[in-house]
């Protein structure tokens, strides 16, 4: 029994450490809760619980993207530690949210620290190049992924060793309205990702499409894929008609197309 537990502990730590390296590069598993959660569920031997937790964090994460070097709450790490604690203690989704959410939020700070340390590494690599020590530069680069793996590996180590006991203690002390409140928060939190998405995108120009999507889903109960297809139909029409404008403008006057070219430089 303890033997299996030990193997699970090690695999969970490796999974968490590898997750950041994958998300920074290969993007095959990335940090998407359903994918990470399915793997965690297989490791922990309870796919049913794992999928419920992963699905919950996945919906919370919709729209959350770390673009242009920004940091975002790590819902992938939240999923791993949440499933680990929930399955190990047998306490289910409530403890998963109670442990996963704070850990996912704290991971942002670790990412910032990792990137600051890597700044020194970048300077060392550049110095190697200036010294014509090219082999050393190639070798030292591997410190990058090694450091970034700690960003999620370290929290996972702490949770694996102390998590289940702390959670059992917390759940006996904390009143039920707190865990219920966190479940309510879990339902509301996708709004943050949706809000962030709206901030990246040209909302004012294409407000009509948000309304169309909302009405299709709220009143007509069309699924997400159906709404995406209708959106695609509109996008296709837009692309064709706007492309025609560009080509006709380009043949009329060259000056116009040069002006448009300037926009991309900003």
């Amino acid at each position: 029994m303890t033997g299996i537990n030990l193997i699970q502990d090690i695999l969970i730590i490796i999974l968490a450490a590898y997750m950041t390296v994958d998300q920074n590069g290969l993007v095959i598993m990335s940090w998407f809760p359903v994918i990470v959660g399915t793997i965690t569920g297989i490791i922990m031997g309870d796919l049913t619980t794992a999928l419920t937790i992963a699905g919950t964090f996945q919906l919370m994460m919709l729209g959350v993207a770390a673009l242009g070097g920004a940091s975002a709450p790590n819902y992938g790490l939240a999923t791993i530690v949440g499933i680990f604690v929930a399955v190990r203690t047998g306490t289910g989704i409530k403890s998963a949210i109670a442990v996963g959410l704070p850990v996912g939020l704290l991971a942002i700070q670790l990412e910032v620290v990792a990137r600051i340390i890597v700044n020194f590494l970048a300077h060392r690599m550049l110095t190697d190049v200036k010294n014509h020590d090219f082999k050393k530069m190639q070798r030292e680069a591997w410190w990058g992924p090694a450091l970034f793996s700690l960003q999620t590996g370290l929290p996972a180590i702490l949770i694996v060793f102390f998590g289940p006991d702390v959670v059992k203690f917390i759940l006996t002390v904390v009143p039920s309205w707190v865990t219920d409140g966190l479940t309510v928060a879990g339902g509301m939190l996708p709004v943050v990702g949706v809000g962030m998405l709206l901030r990246y995108m040209p909302v004012k120009k294409f407000l009509s499409y948000i309304i169309v999507g909302f009405v299709l889903a709220a009143y007509l109960k069309v699924g997400v894929l159906g709404v995406a297809l209708i959106g695609f139909a509109a996008a296709y029409w837009y692309f064709i008609s706007e492309s025609k404008k560009v080509t006709s403008a380009a043949t009329n006057t060259n000056a116009v197309s040069e002006d448009e070219g300037d926009d991309y430089d900003e």
Partner: protein, 270 residues
């Protein structure tokens, strides 16, 4: 020693550079030069072949250590094209390579981020998320397989950039803006649907007037319009995010705070 004989990179050299870049990408990410060191590291073996001279090799590498950031798929295209320029013109292409990279990384990231980090995870995430809630891992498995396919697409993009060079990218550039906008249309339709389905908030508070019972949620809000509260909450969060003080983390904490207080007073139910 200056020699006029051209060094040709083999297909294997290019594939090697593409694999190195798409693995390292953000793994040496720092706030000063962002992806720069990863680009230099990824192209290093290929550049070594192009520049047998140590001084030229150093100049070329230093050039790639400069600030760089774009979506990896699109980067593969840009870096493929810039490697082709260096293979053709040697160290003389240094400034042209730098300006190609800096002028394209922004617009390319615009379309790449919209497709790769916004549109695709939003659609896949909401479908596979609901499937997972019902205990079905199929969505997650399909997503994983798609990501493996994307890995090969990225490697292919590097080759496309290398062989068709700058011509393709500049001609693509003219339509890039329209393409990004079209992708945004799909994205915003989906966002509209998400507001109605994924954001969950309800206030099943019951008011009693004599013998008449009135449920605030089913009797009032749902009568006005479906998903009224999620729509209002989205509007509020959208407005807050426009304020620099309200970072996403603070807003998450605010939502958790409201939920706890609301649940304590019985306004929300789990």
């Amino acid at each position: 020693m200056m020699s006029d004989e051209k060094i040709k990179l083999t297909k294997k050299d290019r594939r090697h550079a593409a694999v190195r870049y798409n693995f390292m990408a953000c793994n040496i990410f720092n706030y000063e030069s962002q992806m720069g060191p990863a680009v230099a590291w990824a192209l290093a073996p290929a550049l070594r072949k192009i520049y047998p001279n140590d001084d030229e090799y150093e100049m070329a590498l230093e050039n790639h250590f400069n600030y760089y950031n774009s979506t990896t798929v699109m980067s593969s295209l840009i870096l493929g094209a810039s490697l082709a320029m260096e293979e053709r013109d040697g160290i003389g292409a240094k400034d042209a390579v730098q300006s190609l990279k800096t002028s394209l990384m922004g617009p390319m990231a615009g379309v790449g981020d919209t497709l790769v980090w916004v549109l695709w995870p939003t659609i896949m995430g909401s479908i596979s998320g609901y499937m997972a809630l019902q205990g079905n891992p199929l969505g997650a498995i399909v997503w994983l397989i798609a990501n493996i396919v994307f890995w090969f697409v990225k490697l292919k993009m590097f080759d496309v950039g290398f062989t068709s060079g700058t011509k393709l990218i500049t001609s693509l550039g003219e339509r890039l803006n329209i393409f990004t906008e079209s992708a945004s249309i799909v994205g915003l339709s989906v966002v509209g649907a998400l507001v109605a389905t994924v954001v969950k908030i309800s206030m099943p508070v019951i008011f009693q007037f004599g013998k008449v019972k009135l449920n605030l949620q089913t009797g009032v809000f749902d009568k006005i319009m479906p998903a009224l509260l999620p729509a209002l909450l989205t509007l509020l969060i959208y407005k807050l995010l426009g304020n620099k003080k309200w970072t996403p983390t603070r807003i998450i904490l605010l939502v958790i705070g409201i939920s706890l207080v609301g649940t304590f007073f019985g306004i929300f139910k789990a």
